[in-house]
Symmetry: C2
């Protein structure tokens, strides 16, 4: 969980509620409850906690540690496809060592983007008895600086979710089909490559699926798009309980629609406003405009 200071060509938002786990949870809870595991600092505003309570988000594993909440300051240029990081303060995330306790162990686990050492600790505590489905996200920083630890996590998950640049960086392959093949050789049977405004690719053992992004006239803030996409995807899979390829395609489309709302406003604003029928309506349009 994070406090973000955002700047896009359409405005500035200092210190808004963000973080992978936050966007993921808001993306997923349209369809399924989420048990969140994260750390925040003593500065974590009571107001943010109230925001989390708008949704079926179990906060039992939300740890409050001495220190400040993770802080990120970033800026987007006109193309909005890539963020420029101006400042990162790990703060309480630097020493996060989650001690998880669940009333009922979840069947579906998503390891949001964080130090792969922490992702590994979460996996250790939940891997047995076997989870139904585990997916993980990562980012360029961990590929560059903790590749060994990251590769270990990747070898233990069913699905890796990453963007096109990360896929190329991780595998050394510029072609995304070959990059996905290399990722599968590292362990996961499924790979999801997010391409921002250009859509998403899904690969399993021997099939693939390509989907454009939902076309938007106004994109205000791409922050959280990828995390809420993953939330939508995981929420769809968990709520249907069907991990078959056909249903996975639908999960990808669902996640894409959720993300399309995210970027239409700053921070969490759009995700807080929309309701299930909004997603369903847009999904029906999406199907129409992407089928020939």
């Amino acid at each position: 969980m994070a406090i973000d200071s955002l700047e896009t060509p359409f405005g500035k938002r200092p210190r808004v509620f963000g973080g992978s786990a936050t966007y993921f949870s808001f993306g997923a809870t349209f369809l399924t409850p989420v048990a969140l595991a994260a750390v925040v600092g003593k500065d974590f505003p009571e107001e943010y906690r109230r925001v989390l309570k708008e949704r079926p988000i179990d906060l039992a594993n939300l740890e409050v540690a001495d220190g400040e909440t993770f802080f990120w300051r970033g800026k987007y240029g006109l193309d909005l496809n890539s963020a420029q990081t101006l400042e990162t303060r790990l703060n309480v995330l630097a020493d996060f060592n989650p001690k998880l306790a669940f009333k009922k162990k979840p069947d579906y686990l998503f390891l949001a983007n964080v130090d792969p050492v922490i992702q590994g600790r979460v996996l250790d505590q939940l891997a047995k008895p076997r989870l139904k489905f585990v997916a993980a996200d990562t980012m360029n920083f961990w590929i560059a600086n903790k590749l060994k630890e990251l590769r270990k996590v990747i070898s233990r998950v069913d699905c890796l979710v990453l963007n096109d640049g990360e896929a190329r960086q991780l595998t050394g392959e510029s072609n995304l089909i070959r990059a996905a093949q290399r990722v599968k050789e590292m362990g996961p049977s499924r790979v999801v490559i997010k391409k921002g405004e250009h859509g998403v690719l899904l690969f399993d053992e021997d099939s693939f699926f390509a989907l454009p992004a939902y076309p938007l006239e106004s994109v205000f803030d791409p922050t959280g798009a990828g995390d809420s996409f993953a939330g939508g995807m995981m929420g769809y899979l968990a709520s249907t309980g069907d991990l078959g390829f056909q249903n996975f395609k639908k999960a990808i489309a669902w996640g894409s629609v959720v993300a399309s709302f995210t970027v239409e406003d700053f921070g969490l604003e759009a995700l807080r406003k929309i309701r299930l029928p909004d997603i369903k309506e847009r999904l029906a349009i999406f199907r129409k405009i992407s089928t020939f």
Copy 2:
């Protein structure tokens, strides 16, 4: 029609047969005959003429002028999405003033990328009686240097086909949906925006369609992709005679598949090798991998 010297990360091909009209014709003639209007120089190899005769391409309006054939030398980097022009010699294209004569006037006209003054001259000779459907392509050079003439051509066509960078340059809108809206305000009721490896967008008065590119593991040479796409699209429209939006979507998918073959080999090589069943087979796969 052109002689191209190509360089990609996968090899060099000095002086191969190319040009918008060439790729367009090869893309279209899987489904329909083409009456080509173009100019070449006295250096135009007899061998190229034989290549054209492999297909139902009427060469009655292929003019041979004093001088040399248009020459382009270009290079692609690893991302293969944009060409770097190293040399352009207009040669006989500089003074091309087509005098068209058809046994039977065509119903469908595609104005391939060339000086808009020349596109206008072709339109003047064919516009009456009214054509069934006119589409045009263009490029950054004409947007920058002959905008007034280009706007006049655009105002006279039913459909403008251009790539994402050109759409942004022509309209000053970075968002492609808004850019397409601006293009429609210039005259065409349909706009096709090509995004290379990221697929294509189609806009008509009140609908749109988004399609990813056919995913390819090996791209060798993007030269001619856009022109053969347009050829496939126009060939599909002309052979079905149906300009409705649903059929236009299929034409876009057909064009995308034709282009996917083009880039798998250098120059015209792949297009010369494949046959109609190859396109149909890939189209069936494409439908499967892009439908959820």
